[in-house]
């Protein structure tokens, strides 16, 4: 099976310069890979560095050492060393990300937020909105909210906008940071179905799920992040 993502020997430490240069090692020796059509779940207690790993893969956190190799436009690229333009190109075409919280943009309505990743890839706005409305309807977001900016939405409504935005593209790799955290049972089931469909389509998923029930239903494999805890020598 093809391997669209390989994380090799990655280490990350935060240095807090405003706190007198305190060093907080987060993870080290992080090594795993993702295969097409599987969902790997990052496991381990809170604070063990699960979100940090997702953010490094997405290029949102800097990587101190190691490599994150992704297959992008038929080339292998190290996200850890890629320049900003390349990272943006990877995000547009190869790696999608559903964050825990929606970052709202003033004045932009929910439907356009969801459609944006397709518009950025050159799809006409009307066609992109059409696709966005199908997803929002599937996630049971009331239609009267579609044209409103989500700033005033509830946590669960914002999360569904976020999920629709992340799932609308056909990226080969999809990162999920607690996508079901603030959803009710009905919508949780919708997300589980959507994850299954992504797997069938050959997408490689890497997720964090605190909800044990969801985790067991979607996970093909666990990656235990506790195993990457830094040696407490320092």
């Amino acid at each position: 099976m093809p391997t669209p993502l390989v994380v090799h020997d990655v280490a990350k430490t935060f240095t807090m310069h405003v706190r007198g240069g305190v060093r907080l090692p987060v993870v080290e020796n992080v090594s795993f890979s993702l295969k097409t059509g599987e969902c790997a779940v990052l496991g381990g207690p809170s604070g063990v560095g699960k979100s940090s790993i997702l953010k490094m893969v997405y290029g949102n956190y800097a990587v101190d050492t190691g490599e994150i190799i992704v297959k992008h436009r038929d080339a292998l690229i190290d996200v850890a060393r890629a320049d900003p333009r390349t990272v943006l190109s990877i995000r547009r075409e190869t790696i999608g990300y559903v964050s825990q919280f929606l970052r709202v943009v003033p004045r932009v309505g929910a439907l356009d937020i969801v459609a944006e990743p397709l518009v950025e890839r050159g799809m006409p706005r009307d066609a992109a909105r059409e696709r966005a409305s199908v997803l929002l309807a599937r996630l049971n977001l009331p239609e009267r909210l579609w044209h409103l900016p989500p700033a005033t939405f509830s946590g669960g409504e914002q999360q569904r906008v976020n999920i629709a935005r992340g799932f609308i593209t056909d990226h080969a790799v999809l990162l999920l940071d607690e996508p079901t955290a603030s959803l009710d049972a009905v919508n949780r089931q919708v997300v589980i179905d959507m994850i299954e469909e992504k797997k069938t389509a050959g997408v490689a998923l890497l997720g964090i799920f605190h909800d044990a029930d969801v985790r067991e239903r979607v996970a093909d494999r666990m990656v235990d992040v506790s195993a990457f805890a830094p040696a407490r020598a320092a």
Partner: protein, 263 residues
């Protein structure tokens, strides 16, 4: 935001640019490339050298050393400081735009809104009055100024409207590169949000490259792809905007990010 126009050459190449005021540093040894469709934010506190750097690139200030190469429409790279004055001025009026913090610095306050927009079209040789006026009204609409204000002078406009008019005036010639100096400074927050949304849309739609000086990190996050952090005239950090803001590496960037008040 889109950077779909990935081409194989940058639009602007800045190498080793320094500006000294006597023995005082304005900015020192700044190098970077700007690509088509890319928005670069330059952030830092007052006196960090960000506006000096912007002015050095926009030919408003002569750098003490360094070069600024621009890719012309004929695909040749030209050192903007080795161009003749007339050619440079034509570039500024057609292929480039400059949005000032204070709209009064970029507008002619005593001629009509329509004339403010039309003036740049005339500078590129447009002579047909009806077409100039139609173009002006179209651009006023795109920056959300009602067409029936076309004959009003900007003196009669609010601050937010003036700033939107300044943007229309700059974009009417379809420039490829636009410089902005604190474009949302001095505006109310709700007015700021509207302007930012508008800028974000226009930049994406027109595939513009932009260099935006701002001290407001939220503005940088919303509209830029890449961010350069300056302190005492030097670049202390440079990278993907969300990476710099969410995982700042330099001590000064960490201080800036941690000083933002949360609402």
């Amino acid at each position: 935001m889109s950077t779909d126009t990935i081409e194989d050459a940058p639009l602007l190449k800045v190498a080793g640019v320094s500006k000294f005021y006597g023995s005082r540093i304005g900015c020192e040894n700044v190098s970077f490339e700007l690509w088509p469709g890319e928005v670069l934010a330059i952030v830092g506190e007052s006196g960090s050298g960000k506006t000096t750097l912007l002015n050095c690139m926009a030919t408003r200030l002569n750098p003490s050393s360094g070069t600024v190469y621009y890719r012309m429409r004929d695909e040749t790279f030209r050192d903007i400081y080795r161009m003749g004055e007339a050619e440079r001025r034509l570039l500024m009026r057609t292929d480039w735009g400059f949005v000032h913090q204070n709209p009064a610095d970029g507008l002619r306050m005593t001629v009509s809104a329509g004339a403010n927009v039309g003036e740049r079209l005339m500078a590129v040789g447009e002579r047909h009055y009806g077409e100039i006026r139609a173009s002006a009204i179209d651009w006023l609409g795109r920056v959300e100024i009602a067409g029936d204000r076309v004959d009003d002078e900007p003196r009669a406009f609010s601050g937010g409207m003036r700033q939107r008019l300044q943007i229309a005036r700059n974009l009417v010639t379809r420039p490829r590169l636009i410089f902005m100096d604190e474009p949302t400074g001095g505006l109310d927050v709700s007015v700021q949000a509207r302007l930012l949304d508008l800028l974000r849309g226009l930049v994406g739609e027109l595939g513009l490259s932009a260099i935006v000086v701002t001290h407001d990190l939220a503005v940088a996050r919303l509209i830029s792809h890449r961010m350069m952090v300056m302190k005492d005239g030097r670049v202390v950090e440079h990278g993907l905007t969300d990476r710099v803001l969410d995982d700042p590496q330099a001590p000064y960037t960490q201080l800036l990010v941690s000083s933002i008040l949360q609402v």
